[in-house]
Symmetry: C2
Subunit: 293 residues, 2 copies
Amino acid sequence: MNAQLPTTPDTTPLAIICGAGSLPFAVADAAVRGGRRVVLFALKGAADAERMTGYPHHWVRIGQFGSIRRIARTEGCRDVVFIGSLIRPTIRQLWPDFTTLFLVPRLIRLLRGGDNRLLLGVTEIFEENGFRLIGADQVAPEIRMPRGALGRRAPIERDWADIKCGLALLHATGPFDVGQAVVVADNRILAMEAAEGTDEMLAHLAEMRRNGRVRSPVGVGVLVKAPKPGQDRRVDLPAIGPATIEGVANAGLAGIAVVAGSAIVAEAERMAAVADSAKIFVIGIDADGTRDA
Amino acid sequence: MNAQLPTTPDTTPLAIICGAGSLPFAVADAAVRGGRRVVLFALKGAADAERMTGYPHHWVRIGQFGSIRRIARTEGCRDVVFIGSLIRPTIRQLWPDFTTLFLVPRLIRLLRGGDNRLLLGVTEIFEENGFRLIGADQVAPEIRMPRGALGRRAPIERDWADIKCGLALLHATGPFDVGQAVVVADNRILAMEAAEGTDEMLAHLAEMRRNGRVRSPVGVGVLVKAPKPGQDRRVDLPAIGPATIEGVANAGLAGIAVVAGSAIVAEAERMAAVADSAKIFVIGIDADGTRDA
């Protein structure tokens, strides 16, 4: 008999590198439901410490690639998923370990550019070291945003015009490796996401409306999210969650439109309930803005 | 002898409709230096009341087109200049007088779209009523941003790369009737102006850097301003002033680049001094990012 250990991808434990929010746990649960073991790598300063206790996990700092590699190899991991939100670090905020130290010149170059470029570079570093990066939505297809409305509400005619406008703008800014979200109200662009992230863009819009810097009728306007062209779906999928709905409600908008299949949503059922109680629509659309039949 | 009054454009007093800031006074001073009388229409809630006392003026509300028309005709004005910053009103914030009331359905349509569209519509209303709208920079060519550096500092190689990137992005978003300014640092888009205005975009970026939401090295990055394609230069010229320099310094950036001739600057000499003491460069560039020889 051959004594070789089973090392096919499906039987090795899945390494999940966890940023903030509930998505890492939704992915871990989905993998476990699919019969796969998981090992969570909780990023310090980002991952949810309380929920982490329910899963096999290791705490790591973002710049400690050497530790991650060592632990992942010890655990027998080959497949790696990046999931959860993360504020982009500066080179000074990295705590490089001995291995990462050799990568610093490369990381400095990667930090001079947009998020796409940075994430692509980090992906390459993992792959050069024998890991295989896979998309969270491959492990957990159930977290992909479905086509159509999540709750009971749906966009009206005016909202569809705003959705079209937002998608066209995101299409134009796509090549610039910039934000993945805009707010459009009555064909007017109220906000564009750059480095601040969607939640902060919405919070800022809400504040500007409170203090009168931006004036626009309440209950009008759509948050439109779409993937960037050339975005690596394995490491940077647009995501929405209950906080997105809250942000949209606080900003006095009518709803959220995301390109179906290309965005992820942590808990679709809970999202639908939250959306209904906030009187916000959440709709999965086609990339060209075609409405759900 | 013919008793006709002299009514050629050059001898009629110039009506200056004044928003916030010091630009209205720079334009008024330039017109007076050129030998022309001026009548200032101070918009309530925007124009600087203290400085207004030094000029012949009337206070008006933004929606009171009937009053403006009546006073302007009484004063013998034919040429009108719009100048100074203004927060876009909602239809509810307009205080329409009897004349404007008839324009409300039209104003509602105009408010459903970007600023270009709104301003174009307001221009048409003035012109239909026999006024001639002229650009502030036609009355006062000295307020046009010159080519080259205003102070002693100039962009370095890295800044030129950011300027090129910012101009390309503004070129891409131009057709969407959206903001006229972006912040680029090391080829990464840190902020894009939508409805909030340049000063607020900079203040928000400064805040996000303070609270760690956006991380980027201090002293790197450029505010890039360019006119929109199709922008009516008579009513909406990008402007910079000492507040812009302060905003850029607070946001930890290296400097400001504006398309020469297409932006206006209230007090160029004072700006140069403020820029030097803040260690910020302010440069007038070509629309394609060509550097000053």
